[in-house]
Symmetry: C2
Subunit: 220 residues, 2 copies
């Protein structure tokens, strides 16, 4: 059967990027459709009426939404280069950290970027505590998933790019010297053949995040 694979994403979203990486890892050709979130396409709204968000993967006409759900779908549909291991306990561990990223780590970093005063201090403290768990997970391993990248690496992948952009825009030191394993992983991950050409242009990202930062922290 001729496969038709389309991916609705944006040029900058980390949630879209993890799906791009999974498709590249599997060697699946796809058509990328970059959405403008200020003017969402009728197709996006039709494919994801509940969340009205990217990414949406459309495989032979069937839409799948929610990036973690999409990653599992990709892994179950195309078996080469597994994203998840076989053992149920290891699968559970990967899913646990993927959820941790989306529900704890990413929101804490976002809070440190967008909030002010005491709220920002709390978000920064939460970020540091969350990153300690991340650092701990890397002990004795090359990648989060072991010798090869897997679900947790794809989901934590945004750190390899956005942390340094946040640091440049805010002037804060987030990862710094305190997380040597994570720092090494960020370097290693971002230069993998399957990853290195996928990063959105850094100059455009700096402009985007500087504008967001200015919006959340208007000059008093």
């Amino acid at each position: 059967m001729a496969e038709e694979v389309k991916l609705f994403k944006t040029w900058s979203s980390t949630f879209g990027l993890r799906v791009v990486w999974a498709l590249k890892l599997k060697g699946i050709p796809y058509e990328a459709i970059d959405e403008d979130l200020s003017n969402k396409s009728a197709l996006l709204l039709q494919y994801n009426p509940v969340h009205k968000k990217i990414p949406v993967l459309v495989h032979n006409g069937n839409p799948i939404s929610e990036s973690l759900v999409i990653l599992e779908y990709i892994d179950e549909t195309w078996k080469q280069n597994p994203i998840l291991p076989q053992d149920p306990l290891h699968r559970a561990r990967e899913r646990f950290w993927a959820k941790f990223n989306d529900e704890k780590l990413l929101p804490s970093v976002w809070g440190a970027f967008t909030k002010e005063g005491k709220d920002r201090e709390e978000a920064m403290a939460a970020t540091m505590e969350n990153l300690k768990f991340v650092e701990e997970e890397l002990k004795g391993k090359k990648f989060f998933s072991g010798e090869k990248i897997g679900l947790v690496d794809l989901v934590f992948g945004w750190l390899a790019n956005l942390i340094s952009i946040f640091e440049e825009v805010t002037g804060f030191n987030i990862v710094g010297e305190g997380y040597p394993l994570l720092s090494a992983w960020m370097q290693e991950f971002s230069e993998l053949p399957v990853i290195k050409d996928t990063w959105p242009p850094r100059d455009k990202m700096i402009i985007k995040y500087q504008a967001l930062y200015d919006k959340y922290h208007p000059a008093k």
Copy 2:
């Protein structure tokens, strides 16, 4: 191998209950450990240092946290009475609605229960919109997962119990006449042999939620 299965939960938590249902569905004997969340056990903190929350399933000494992760682990470990279907697209659909419950539906109902004034109105409006999606999902089906209950039924299961408790405590009409398929499902689900003896005592639940309600809405 002699299996050792322990479940850390509370007497009332919906997140613990969905794991109880999954274990019962699979016919897996387990030891239940009811935690007091105001005085968490050292074992719970050891098994789930990241979230410090129930439920935690401990299988032959290996702890697994996060209820959705536990449900997938149970389904992958014990194959009888599948919780998820085989087809990747159907699996993605079930995972999508499970996430929707935890990230949209449950928070909106909780907001309607705990918030006041305009915030409450917004949470109630979000609840109604979310329940419309739920109602739509039931069209042409006996259970959310089809002819038999599956992941989505286990995850939406709290509705069959807590909605009527919220209605009794708040005096609000949440499901009422507007969601006939959901109302029928709530009845059917709550009386299934595997489910019906698992509900926490209603009188204790009313007392618990009345106290919570009074805390969030102190007399002015």
